[in-house]
């Protein structure tokens, strides 16, 4: 038994799927998929859902809007009937898109932390290692704006200010 999360070919999920780890969909999903990590729509998978994830790889069929924080890849044979919003798009030969495509845009990432129940649940269950590295990255990118006021009172040398700036991000990791 592998550790990767999979929706098997003969399964159908109706509702909202939230994930903080990679997820492979081989069956059917109807509703919404939101992930902090990668979502792979495998060949033969049919997804009628809005997708928001860090990375989205489409090898099957998606009916619905797809948002990828880092990137979206449409593999040969992959089809999307819906709009695409992402920083970077890779559309391979044989991949199809019917909808509006917006690249180079910032997509607000999904975080499971926003939901009290999910967060409490995650604390009890160990997170897979690849997810840990990923969530740290997100925190870091959002940190500079909230941390800029901190070094202000220290009007000593320029070198010391630099040190003070670096320390908080390291401590929290």
């Amino acid at each position: 038994m592998s550790d990767v999360s999979v929706i098997a070919p003969n399964h159908r999920v109706v509702g909202t799927v939230s994930a903080a780890e990679d997820l492979i969909i081989q069956g059917r999903v109807e509703g919404r998929i939101q992930s902090e990590a990668t979502v792979i729509i495998d060949q033969a998978a049919i997804v009628e859902a809005e997708i928001l994830a860090r990375h989205v790889l489409v090898k099957g069929i998606v009916v619905g809007d797809v948002s990828g924080v880092e990137g979206i890849e449409i593999a040969p044979g992959g089809q999307v009937l819906g709009d695409l919003r992402t920083r970077r798009l890779a559309l391979r030969a044989g991949g199809r898109v019917a909808g509006n495509v917006l690249t180079g845009v910032e997509v607000q990432p999904f975080t499971m932390a926003g939901k009290g129940g999910a967060q409490a649940w995650q604390r009890q269950t160990p997170r897979p290692p690849q997810v840990r590295g990923f969530s740290e990255e997100i925190v870091e990118t959002s940190r500079p704006s909230s941390f800029t006021p901190a070094p202000q009172p220290a009007t000593v040398g320029a070198g010391e200010v630099k040190k003070a700036k670096k320390e908080p991000s390291r401590e929290s990791i």
Partner: protein, 105 residues
């Protein structure tokens, strides 16, 4: 052998149906699980809703009614709050269960 695996950081709000086996390490909430093959709720897994399958194995927590055509097994550490309907029911030492049992007949 195809199997659906709901990982520890995955949360599904809704229904799961189909024929393959299902392993729950995460959270399935508010819906109904209707799976032909077996359903295994692992120690880290939690299901809030009804479960219907051939065989159901509970090592985690289930809040809802469980119906199986073959058997229901609550393992040590497993918790079930809800009614059980199955011809064979196993409750291990250390498991907790609150609900009614219907073994048919």
């Amino acid at each position: 052998m195809a199997e659906t695996i709901i990982g520890p950081t995955i949360q599904i709000e809704g229904d799961i149906s189909g024929s393959d086996a299902l392993a729950v390490h995460g959270l399935v909430r508010g819906g109904r699980i209707q799976v032909k093959d077996g359903v295994v709720i692992h120690a880290s897994g939690r299901v809030e809703g009804d479960v219907e399958s051939a065989a159901v194995e509970i090592a985690g927590v289930v809040q809802g009614n469980v119906a199986a055509t073959d058997k229901v097994e609550i393992k040590a550490g497993g918790k079930l709050f809800g009614d059980v309907k199955a011809p064979r029911i196993l409750i291990a030492d250390g498991a907790s269960f609150k609900g009614n049992i219907n073994m048919g007949g």
